[in-house]
Every structure is written in C-alpha cells, then in structure tokens.
C-alpha cells in the first residue's frame, strides 16, 4: 500500500528576471525511489533548495504527509532546520561536510534535531544527558557501519576519499531519521567501482523502507534504481513516468541530445 509522502504543486522560483522553476509538480510515495533528471542548469538543485527551505519559493506549495496522520503539513516558508525536523534530509551536489570534525561527529550532528540536551544538561551532565549522548553515539556509529565508514570514524572528514565523503553525506542525512531522503548527484565524480557501491547502498537503504528522491546524471544508475522518473528542462517539468516510459519519450531525448535528433 503506497501512501504519498511529498506533494509539490506549482513550485515556482524566480531569481530576479530568471524563472529557475516554472510550476513544477512532483510527488513521492512511501518506499519509492524517485529520480529527478535533466540537463545542467535545468533547475534540479534549485528545486531541492526550494523544498528544503534554503530558498523561499516564489509560488506553489510543498506538502509533507506525516506518518499515521491524515493531516499534511506545508513546508513552504519554513527555515531549513525546521524542514529537516519535519522529515526532509538532503545531501549537497558540491559536498558540504564539516571538514574539521571527525567522520563520527559529522554523523552525530545529524542527530541534533532528534535530541534535546542544552546548556544545563551539558554543564551538569545529568543522567538524561549522558543517556542521550550514548544513544547519539550508538545510532551514529550504526549508521557509519551501514555506509561502510566505521573504520574511519575518528578521522577528519576532509581526509576521506571523494567517494567516501559522498557516502558520509548520506550517512549524516540518514542520522536525522528523514521521511524522505534527498540526494543531489550522489555519484558525481565517483569512479565506476564507487558508483557500483553507491548503487548497492541506495538499494539497501531503500529496502529498509526509506523513501528517496534522487538527482542524478548517471543514466545507468538512474534506470537501475528508480521506480519513477521526473524530467526537467529550463525550469519546467517536461516528462514523468517509469524508466521504460522515459527512455522512449521523444521530449526527453530532445532535451538531452538537442535539436539534431529531429533533423
């Protein structure tokens, strides 16, 4: 039984005179892997930035369905941290780790919005705080094991290889216990082996029930992973459907290969 998680309707974003997003509709159901593809500059990252609160969209609405509740909450106008608290977590196209924190601490930051200890608890190290710290450590470490970075736990994040840094970003996002995981070009810059590992990792996460929205240029990866695909070009959604449908869609082929196809 598939329930909708995210419903984006008519999302529009203007930068001065430039319309980077033009009435984009998109939806993700629970347990699905949905891909968002399109040529460079199509507005995919902007779409992520709008739904995660980093940009305030000019128009449209973003609705998130909370589990076990019939009510939907709007994410529009929320600050990025509130969006994450509600259940969207993301990675960045250009890696944004905390370079001078250890790998483990990077993941522990992801637990921030699910924990509470504050000044008082920190200073007096109350029993509750200690228990919480321990659970943060345990959860974070378990996530590191899942993405295969456990042996690097105490290294600085910027000492990791490129592919490992991308995996750490995923781990950090997972630590926030998201309803929907947003991945912005997770395979960018990876070698074929790393891409293969990533493919396995995403499948594994998905099998645990995690809904994923994925921006990716590697078509093999997209076709292998996604249940459904949305295609954007020049800020507009130009197609949506299953991988097979998208492969055969003339508008998509045109967007990717240019006008020559017609000629």
């Amino acid at each position: 039984m598939k329930q909708p998680i995210l419903n984006v309707t008519n999302l529009t974003m203007d930068f001065g005179g430039i319309r980077a997003l033009d009435s984009v509709d998109l939806d993700v159901n629970s347990g699905e892997i949905v891909a968002l593809i399109g040529p460079n500059g199509a507005g995919k990252t902007t779409f992520f930035n709008c739904i995660t609160g980093i940009y305030q969209p000019t128009g449209g609405d973003i609705l998130l369905s909370l589990p076990n509740k019939s009510k939907k909450v709007s994410l529009k106008g929320l600050k990025p941290n509130k969006v994450t608290e509600r259940g969207l977590a993301r990675t960045f196209q250009n890696i944004r780790l905390f370079p001078k924190m250890t790998v483990l601490e990077n993941v522990m930051i992801g637990r921030h919005c699910r924990t509470k200890a504050f000044i008082f608890g920190a200073i007096f190290r109350t029993a509750a705080t200690r228990r919480e710290e321990e659970s943060i450590l345990e959860t974070s470490y378990a996530i590191l094991e899942k993405v295969g970075l456990a042996e690097h736990a105490n290294e600085f994040a910027d000492n990791l290889s490129y592919g490992a840094q991308r995996r750490l970003e995923i781990a950090r996002a997972l630590a926030t216990e998201p309803l929907l995981l947003l991945l912005d070009e997770p395979a960018a810059g990876m070698n074929p082996q790393e891409t293969l590992d990533l493919d396995h990792l995403i499948k594994q996460i998905s099998q645990e029930g995690q809904a994923i929205l994925l921006i990716e240029h590697d078509m093999q990866l997209v076709m292998s992973l996604s249940d459904r695909i949305f295609v954007m070009d020049y800020g507009k959604k130009i197609a949506q459907g299953t991988p097979a449908e998208i492969r055969a869609n003339p508008a998509v082929i045109k967007a990717y290969l240019g006008e020559e196809v017609d000629a």
Partner: protein, 409 residues
Amino acid sequence: MVLLKEFKKALLTSLWFVFLTFPIVVIKVDPIERTVFWRWQNAFYMAVGTFSIYLLVKFYQHRKENQPKSSDAGENKLPISSLIHRILLNPVQRNIFIGIVAAISIVFPHIFSTYQTNVMTTALMYVVLGLGLNIVVGLAGLLDLGFVAFYAVGAYTYSLLNLHFGLGFWTVLPIGGLLAATFGILLGFPVLRLRGDYLAIVTLGFGEIIRLILENWGKFSKGPSGISNIPRPGFFGMHFNLEQSVLYTYYLMIILVIVTIFIVNRLQDSRLGRAWIALREDEIACQAMGIDKRKTKLVAFSLGAFWAGIVGVMFAAKTTFINPASFTFLESAIILSIVVLGGMGSIVGVVFGALILILLPEYLRALSEYRMLAFGAILVCMMIFRPQGLISNIRRTYKFEKKSPPPVR
C-alpha cells in the same frame, strides 16, 4: 635559478623596508641643538635583518611545501604542542600535570611578591576572558571585535549597583554575568545574518558604542572621570588589609579559572558544542542538518559574554577604580590575540596564549612600549607559520570497545 630569483626578491624587499623605515631609524633630529643625525648604520642593520628574515621565511615555506603531507604530522609539528597533547591524552600523565599546575598555582603568591601576584591575577582574568571569547570565535566561528563591551558591562554593573544600592561583590557577580549575557543576546539579534568581515565591523562598532556611552553619559556612568572606591571582594564580612586582599583575589581568580575551564570543556564536548563547531565549519550544511542557526549563535554570544561580565565584576573589584579608558578596542584586540595565538577552539591553547601575551610584556618591561608592534609581529608570524595557533585543539575521539576494532593509526 629559483635561488637567484629569491635572492633578488629578498634584496628588493630589504631595500623597500629600508626606504619605509628610513625616516624613523636613520634620521634623528635634535631640536635643541638644531642638528640632524644620519644614522646610516641603522639602515644597514635594517637591510641585513630584513634580508635574512625574508630568506628564512622563504626557506621555511619551501620546506613545508616539499614535505609529504600527512594528516597528523602537519598539525602537531610544534614540540610544545605535541608534548602537551601527549600529556593530556595519557590519564596518568595528565593527572601529574594537573597536580603540578595546581601546586604552582597554590604556592605562587607565597613565593613571589604582591606585585607579581597582582600581575598573575590580571593574567588569570585574561585567561577567563579568552575562554569566553573562544566560545564565540574559536568554537562558533563568529569573529567578534567588540568583546570588551561585555567586560565593561560587568565592571559597570558592579560599580554602579554598589554606588547606588550598596550591593556587595557576591550579589553582583551573577548579576553582572547575566546582564552581560543579556547584552550578548541584544548584540546577537541584529548580527544574526552577518558573517566574517561584516560581523567583525558591526561588533567593533558595538564595542565602541558601549564605550562612548559610558564616556559621554556622565549622569549615568560619571563619564571619563570614572568611578572610584569600589570595594574589594569580601569574605563573610571579614576585613582584609591590602596584601591579604591581593591574595584573596588571586585565589578567587584561580577558582574562577577552574570553574570556567570545567564548564567550557563540558560545553565543548556536548551536543551544543558540536553544533557550534558545525556552525563554524559550514553554516548552510549546519542548518540543513536541523540545527537552529539563530538559537545556536545567540547562545554562543550570550555564554561568551557571560564570562566577560563575570571578569568585569572581578576587574572592578580588583582595581577599585574603573573608567571607560579601560575598555578600549585595544582590549578586544588583546583578547582576540590570545585566542588566535593560543589556538582557536583549544582550551589549553587559550590558557597558554593568555599567560604569554599578558605576562610577557609585564616581565619584559623594556619591550612594553612596543607591545602593539610585538602583537602585530607575533600575529603575522603565527598566520604564516602556524595558522592553527600554538596548541591546536585535540579532536575528540570516541571508543567502541564492544563492537569495533580500535581505530588503526
């Protein structure tokens, strides 16, 4: 080939320096005799000095670049830094180290004169100030150039409350801290969106505003003439003579330093401390991970200011006289230098930084006129040779005995 080029560059640099410093070091006018001395030998010294320093710096940089880059070797090259790291990471050695430091602190005033004790008390105040600013600058990465304002708030809180209402030191100590923390939040709100240079300029302005208010609002603060006869810290109504009072203040400061280190250390190792560091490392990623930027920044500002307020009260009680001249930008610069010199985010580093920067000029009286020059020179050298400060922060590592093999290193 490269060598020749470097020599040429060094030569040009030294000539340029001779030219720049010519009016100061070479020409000397005697207004009474109406004669001019030309001290050419100084120009020569300047040229030789600059030439060799330039080459030395280049040589050092060259060696640094050619060294194979390994993650840890680069960090702890300074012998004192790696020594202290080793001591602190080993529990037995750490306890011995703490024991020695404690013993020295206790006997210090009994060995040295009252004057020396006074100087040391001042240095300890700067330790706490440095630790406070370290929360803001070192951990949260917010460059605050107006930190002295909170120090002033604390000092004036005690002086004024005592003057008008006769409140005692111990009553005002927490009030001063809390009031300064409130001012920290007040400053924090308008600068929430600012970062880096812009933040630095606004905080600098804030510091000056507070000082100018204190200077010009005579009815409130008694203006430039300041407030005198502020009582020294008391102890259950006991009366001390001057010498005992100095001793008492010294021990109070020691206790305050210990309490501060304890609290700052715990904050740093907590969920809040991690959030500060994350904020410093990448603001956008930090927010995207669910950290409330506003709250985290405001807490950093107010907790940093709190310590400045506390030390402000101590300062007023110690000197028994304050006026706005004690709270100039120079103070902010000194405190910032302590944090930068010691090592941003490192508690031990800040303690060392404060002791060095405050005690050195005191003991090298001859140098004290050149204090600012020395600051500049030290800071420039630090930027070049050791951007992470004297004693870089030891990164926190976590151990998992049950589940994982120990980290291989």
